[in-house]
Amino acid sequence: MSIFVQAKNRVSKFLMAFFKKRRSRIGIYGPPNAGKTTLANRIARDWTGEMIGPVSEIPHETRRATRKQDITITGNNGSTITIDIVDTPGVTTKIDYKEFLEYGVGKEEAITRAREATEGVAEAMHWLREDIDGVIYMLDSTEDPFLQVNIMMVGIIESRKLPVLIVANKIDLPDASPQRIRTAFPQHPVIPISCTEGSNIEELYEKMVLHFG
């Protein structure tokens, strides 16, 4: 019996290799604390009912890239896309364990966290180079978008000719200025949203279907 099962699996694998349509892998990139995991969780919860990873206010909470496969998003006109969402660690040019101490983390743990965060950035960059078909670049709209790391990352994504959507998150906060992000990146669509409140998230889904479909 097991021989038949094995043979069946082999044949189906063989056929899958020929006929299965490769899903697009969409990476959520951005600086630490922009809300990348909150967005990944919301997308996963809205379309599959599951969560991806834990969220906290301490920067670099996500230190390993996490993937949620087979998410099918339906647009208003009925067209759909099936994607894998890759939630990546925050990309930054400097990681100092001292910034974690402010959040009540002990010194030893902070140093470990800094090391893991550094590995996380390397992993995020590896994925971007090897395995990502489209990017959601996430920014905190209360922060200055003209940071060296943002300009550099968007430049790298453009040089790889990957489709990119820029998400201006945290528009529910009083200091939010999505317009500043539009000014910084006029060459890309900018979608202002609030991940925690869920506002304007439908527009993001609509744009994702159009842009990554």
């Binding site: 400097k94 550094t118 390397a122 180079r129």
Partner: protein
Amino acid sequence: MVHTCAKCGKVYPDSSAEILIGCSECGGKKFYFERPDIRLKRIPADRDTPVPASPPSEASEKYPLEDNVGSRVESIRIVAPGTYELNIEKMAQSDDRVVGLGREGSYAVDLLSMSGAKKKKKSER
């Protein structure tokens, strides 16, 4: 954090519009990005006093090339335990890891990351 015009030496605070449109003095579009800790060491005078404009040769002496992250050879620099500087551009180019140690120009080269790693990954898939 400040940016200094590479041509005339005029200093701009972080996120100034001039970084994108060019220096208001000389129109130069290249700027040195400075870490505040290094800047404090170099300019012992009051930080609030304006820095006088200096000729380009003096500027390049004052701010050596190694401060320009983009031109660095390493992808990660371990400044101290738990403090890292990451060269995003280098990381975007390859997985090869050259690690800078401290500020003295010493490096650790991860030969493994430069040799069979790619083949191994392919066979894993």
